[in-house]
Amino acid sequence: MSARERLAQAQAELVQALGVGAPVPSGFDPARVLAAAQSLIHKRRRGVERAWPPLAAALGTDFAVRFEHWARTHPMAVEPDALADGRRFAASLQQEGRLPAEVSGVLLDFDARWRLTSEGERAPRRGVWLVVRRDDTTRRLQVALRLPGGRVWRWVPKVRAP
């Protein structure tokens, strides 16, 4: 094995331990590696909190727990990007039926401006793009229209107080 091959293997084992909770490679202090893993996930959560303030606010104290739970099983395979990371997290909440209704507007906005590639990277949309969907909670239609040049026109009926 070359120096690069040996290093690649050692680094991959460490990143697996840090990112997805694989066993800590031998010789490392497990408590320290765990502390580092926690700090990485905290940094990732803080990034999403800053990139998606309405999502963090709507989930309140649940945000940290839910995000960290999700993040542990969804490591980052592409360049870290808090906007894309937050969108993927929101999609998982939606699948579980736990997406707060207040967030649908900003999600619509995001989806009119960006798409996530199959690798999970965020790519800008071009030209005219229309997003139409029915909100899970309110059952009302929501519309966002991206205009050439990048402006987004959005129509989201207000959530009525119960």
Binding site: A8, A10, V15, L40, R46, E79
Partner: protein
Amino acid sequence: MTGLSLQGVGIGWRRELALFIDRLPSPGFVEVLAEHLPASGAVPEPLLRLRERGVPVVLHAVSLGLGSAEPPDPRRLDWLARQAERVGAICISEHLAFVRAGGLESGHLLPLPRSEDALDVLAENVLRAQAALPVPLALENVASLFEWPDAAFSEAELLAGVLSRTQASLLLDVANLHAHVLNHDTDADAVLACVPRERLAYVHVAGGVQRDGLYHDTHAHPLHAGPLALLELLAERLGPVPVMLERDDRFPAEAELASELSAVATALDRGASRWRAEARR
């Protein structure tokens, strides 16, 4: 590489600090994060204004992974070179770290094993990066909560090793050094002693927090006395060195930031005046 033309006390440029930095009478220099610049289109207006004022710009990157087992990706190097040209950077800095392996992104700078294998790979990666970048490259020591087992040499020897095998200069982060003193008993004096002035590009200081017996280099908490003391020792050894404050999150009131900048200037002056006194003797 000989010393860059950086001097004085600078600050890491962030959008949230743009107005504060705009109002600073004479920032020594600013450092811009390559990953935070828009991928295309116009450079943010406040940065252009700083350039017009003659404030030198350094480009700082976190995604190259110079300590990775793989050689730096030519597309990343291209992108970084273009970013440097867009902002008119006089220098690019990156870390002595790796950030991805085995198909996963760690999301942060991870420390390197201190082994001959890792040093060989690192030096070769740095040489490749230098060949592809339009301006000098400076390498920064990182902070970590853990160390690799079976280190073959010390942190000072790792820094000296990479300096001797490449033409890169060093970006010495005294907050990261402080973290390693507390977390790993690193010999700070040995690290400070391994940096010749002509190979030192500039210095970072930043705030952090101590939690459960570990020092976390957060850039989101107030500046501690420890990094300032190390800065003072460095200036006592080398004379006035260019230094800058990094703040990335939980931005404080302007008065607090201004007082941190003046604490940095004071530490630098105290060290440099002892250096001058020593030179006169």
